[in-house]
Symmetry: C2
Subunit: 180 residues, 2 copies
């Protein structure tokens, strides 16, 4: 995994992939699957919808940090498995054969097997809407990975896999942040 | 366009498609392209990131309603065109050959050419983060449309088209809302 420019990290999230979010509480790592996310700023900042119904929420609120890890299509069963059991009684890294890797800026671990990881600080919790606002502080890409197609949850138990990519860079030149 | 169950409308948005958002101010319709969105509740509620940098924002704030219209891959040039000009000096429905259709619950128009439309009320504006929270009040699907693949903006001027769909309904049965 190689560190990437923080200014590019929003492009990992803008397409709306299902993500894994790791937290660490004491010496206990946990992971949750989240599909309700959006970019809120290029810096980057992200919003997630989560709340007390997720076991990870307490750790997120207490330590105010997490890692966004981006899985790919070959990890679908892990993604669904992680989303359908609880960290209250399960060590999800062990159960799903994932490898925690220490980050630089936060105590929550990166996930080695994922395509990309973004270390994040919680900058606000909008309790009224169960929205957590995160600031990305370091980002990493596993460029050596062959499978790069991410997953998009539909919400009915099906998932859309990334298909072909279409280029409109010229038409959009005025709207794309410098350095992308 | 046929009305669909409101309880299914979140599934139009959960995968993170690029959307068009229409507003109406007096007798003037406008459209903006938005890719920073998320579901915040099944009811459904959605969040968008937007602000005064979008001409539509004033109408959204004033009238507190809009329509989320979901375009497909064959509409990519319209989607990018709409996102790179301003309603301040352009009638986007005319310029991009789109047909406004009156909604039932809001004055902002549906877009006939889109795959789906969701009439929405603004229920909150979280100014600090430029987040607008919407509640869907009516939803419509153009089921007769052949092209159903939506677009996902990457943020660098490229777009990912929906690829194949994978089914994990059985694994996720306990997490899927009733009636889906």
């Amino acid at each position: 995994m190689r560190q990437m420019k923080l200014g590019k990290a929003f492009t990992l999230m803008e397409s709306g992939p299902v993500i894994l979010v790791t937290t660490r509480d004491g010496n206990k790592n946990n992971i949750m699957t989240i599909s309700w996310t959006m970019v809120v700023d290029f810096t980057p900042q992200f919003a997630l919808t989560t709340g007390a119904w997720n076991h990870s929420y307490a750790a997120l609120r207490k330590h105010r940090e997490c890692v966004i890890a981006i899985p790919t299509v070959d990890m679908l069963d892990q993604v669904v498995g992680i989303g359908t059991c609880s960290g209250a009684d399960t060590d999800k890294f062990t159960k799903f054969g994932l490898t925690p890797v220490p980050g630089k800026r936060v105590k929550a671990p990166l996930i080695k097997e994922c395509l990309a990881n973004i270390e994040c600080k919680v900058i606000d919790i909008v309790s009224k809407h169960n929205i957590i606002v995160l600031e990305g502080v370091a980002a990493y890409m596993n460029a050596a990975r062959k499978e790069k197609r991410t997953l998009h949850a539909v919400g009915d138990g099906t998932f859309i896999v990334d298909g072909k990519r279409m280029d409109r860079k010229k038409m959009m030149a005025a709207k794309i942040p410098a350095g992308l």
